[in-house]
């Protein structure tokens, strides 16, 4: 069930109404919200509900066992087992076909045609997100940053539908305290919630899908058929599309949660405003970057082992971060490129001074370059895309609506933050009835831009 669909538009008002009706009775609210979340998840495929339940039970068992022992070795063993199981689930469902195919190819080329079980396995929606949340839960319990939750609370935490399928990756210590007592029915951020939902719908349905249809998909599919200026436009277009697609999803998710009384962490903070790779990762998919930092980079040793060890840790973290996005060499290469950017920045730190605008310009274009690797269907096509950038020709795709959409998406991120925040606060202070009418108008106009085949899935659904 996608957020901007009729099904969800029917589902959410019912769930919101019952949720607030039951809020003062957690013993009823928690089972209700678990059932609602599983119904939401089952609309993609009911079979995967068992997987979600299994991940929940497995990690909750680990959390309970952690509470029962103070023996550090045993605690490490419990956490190691739980994390291995989570990663095992992720590995089987997300990477099995990819790695077995790679192995079969290597063996085939070496003349060792060993018959391997080459099968396809359906990727459960949201698996990358809820397994990471499960890992954060048991590790935080092990680190004593959070107490083990009850089974109901753990199930709500992992299955809560606003963040279930594509994040943001909410840490246990951020969410479980909110479950400890019913949300205050007199302090609901209705304005922020509705404004974020409306913004998210426009970002996804109006801008991201429009750019995808008109420029990005045609050019990335057959870059050799397009001139340099058009290929360049597609690269900028994808930068705008992926931001609007993912930020749109996140805004809707955060807005829905706010209406239900819950707060999710921020996931984006004007990422194209960044003046370096480190700055970019503090603004882009912030909940993933802090997860990678806390559960991969720091456990690997972080910057504690000297310069070379830091570089190694950065590269490992970013390559695995790239692979998290999907089982393809393009993602691995994109991750390696991000890692190389961070390493270079680290190595040059304090040695080169440049004006802020130049740092921004270079960073932005390096990020766009990275998106070319990320979006291309194969390494070969990425190479073709890059080579076509150097060709001349008519800019036939540079139409006013496309260029305006890209300029608005990127330009808005470069504006001073304070006036935008003030504008946001002004909207959030409007009466709920006014905002509701505004939301309805936004949805009607956005729906009119949807082609007959409907709204395509969010990009991050397949991660």
């Amino acid at each position: 069930m996608l957020f901007p669909t009729v099904q969800f538009a029917i589902f959410f008002p019912i769930v919101l109404t019952i949720s607030w009706a039951l809020m003062s009775r957690p013993s009823l609210w928690k089972p209700f919200i678990i059932v609602a979340s599983y119904i939401f998840y089952a609309s993609a495929s009911w079979r995967f509900c068992f997987l979600l339940a299994g991940v929940t039970l497995g990690n909750q068992t680990a959390a309970v066992l952690l509470r029962r022992t103070e023996d550090e070795r045993r605690r490490r063993l419990i956490v190691g087992t739980a994390v291995a199981l989570d990663l095992g689930v992720l590995g089987v469902f997300k990477y099995y076909s990819f790695f077995v195919q790679q192995l079969a190819d290597v063996l085939g080329h070496a003349g060792l045609g060993v018959p391997l079980p080459l099968i396809t396995i359906a990727l459960p929606v949201g698996i990358s997100f809820y397994t990471f949340q499960a890992i954060s839960y048991v590790v935080d319990v092990k680190r004593r940053l959070v107490e083990p939750a009850s089974l109901l609370d753990a199930a709500v935490y992992l299955s809560f539908f606003p963040h279930l399928v594509a994040g943001p990756i909410v840490r246990a210590r951020e969410f479980l305290p909110q479950l400890a007592r019913p949300r205050n029915p007199n302090r609901v951020a209705v304005g922020s919630g509705i404004a974020l939902i409306a913004l998210g719908v426009v970002e996804k349905v109006v801008i991201a899908d429009y750019l995808a249809r008109t420029v990005v998909e045609p050019v990335f599919a057959v870059p050799q058929a397009y001139t340099g200026p058009n290929v360049l436009l597609a690269a900028y277009g994808y930068a705008a599309q992926i931001y609007c697609d993912f930020s749109g999803y996140t805004n809707i998710a955060i807005g829905l949660a706010l209406l239900m009384g819950y707060v999710f962490p921020q996931n984006f903070r004007s990422p194209y405003r960044a003046t370096g790779f480190r700055d970019f990762w503090r603004r882009w998919h912030m909940t993933l970057s802090r997860f990678l930092r806390d559960f991969l980079y720091i456990p690997l040793g972080g910057n504690r082992g000297g310069r070379l060890a830091t570089y190694r840790n950065l590269m490992i973290t970013m390559i695995l971060g790239g692979l998290w996005h999907g089982a393809a060499w393009t993602f691995v290469l994109w991750g390696a490129f991000q890692g190389a950017g961070l390493v270079t920045e680290h190595a040059l730190h304090g040695r080169i001074s440049a004006p802020a605008w130049l740092k921004w310009f270079v960073t932005f274009h390096l990020i766009v370059f990275g998106w070319i690797l990320f979006r291309s269907e194969s390494l070969h096509l990425a190479g073709v895309f890059l080579s076509r950038l150097l060709t001349l020709g008519a800019p036939t795709l540079w139409t006013a609506p496309v260029v305006s959409a890209i300029v608005v998406v990127i330009g808005l991120q470069l504006l001073p933050e304070k006036p935008l925040e003030r504008f946001q606060v002004r909207i959030e202070r409007l009466r709920p009835a006014v905002l509701a009418v505004g939301l309805a108008i936004v949805i009607v106009f956005s729906a009119a831009t949807v082609p007959s085949q409907g709204v395509p899935p969010f990009i991050y659904f397949r991660f």
Partner: protein, 352 residues
Amino acid sequence: MSDATPPPPQPPAPHSDDALMSRFDRMGLRRFRARDAVLAVLLAAILLVVSQGDSIRKAGEQMNPGIGREIVLGVGRPAAWIADQLPLAGVSNAATAWLSPNPSLKGLQGFSSLTAATANGQAQVVSPEQFDPAAIGDKPPPRRPLHTLLVTGDSMSEPLDSDLAQLLAPKGVHVIQEPHVGSGISNTLLVDWGKLAALQVREHHPEAVVIFIGANEGFPMPGPSGREVECCSTAWAAIYANRVRQMANTYRQNGLARVYWLTLPTPREAARAAIARVVNAAIEVGVEPWANQIRVIDTVPIFTPNETYRDAMSVHGSQTIVRQADGIHLNDAGSSLLAGIVLARIERDFSD
């Protein structure tokens, strides 16, 4: 075993990221009651019902059978009725019509015209066009250069369309990629392929058309008497074949164009495989009158010999996964293999 009491739990250590959680507590942010949240969402929902009721019903009709469809239709039917009684739907449609990215199919002949036309059961006269010259040893027509190729269909045509475009780009062939995801020949609610085919020909005048469709079939269709015919009887197959025939006739443009119609590789699921079998049989019958212009490329022997589903097969001597995890579509490797076969067939009809 140690029976020492575990130390009391420590409060979570403050963390720099936790600040992200308090961003909605900033000064000046107005808080409302939960009742306001519920009423605001319900008000928005009511406004959507009165302005978009018909769209909700149509969305339900396009869904596959199941409880989700029943729920959406349960809301959509009364919503459509309410919207019909009020002027808001007309106002919102008029205000937003200019935003629609869908091509207008008004005035084009769709499948609805077929029902009456196919009601008679007269035997047809056999024409020379029903024979492929190559198949009977006759001299084929001279090959001519290919400038424009249309690759269309439902989601099955992706990424075949991109693969063909990449293969033909160096030859200067303009490949129009037009997938209509989620559509089907037996389901005219999303798009009427009879009309769409006419529009595609009128807009692009392709010299060759590759069509790969059938992932969303099995819907009931109106028969010659006007009554709905359920899948997958011979009656349903006949209606489907007639629709295929109408499209094929449109695409061949009175013999000016060549059409390459791909059958469905057998899907993994038995229920889908049964539909695919009927669809493939209907394609064969549907294009029969123009065997000299329309090539059926049968994917079953390539990917699923004896209609036996398989994820992987030997490609260029090495075992390769060729299907997507859904057990319906071809993956990149499978699509690439098929693109090569389609291209070889196109090259027999067209010169470089």
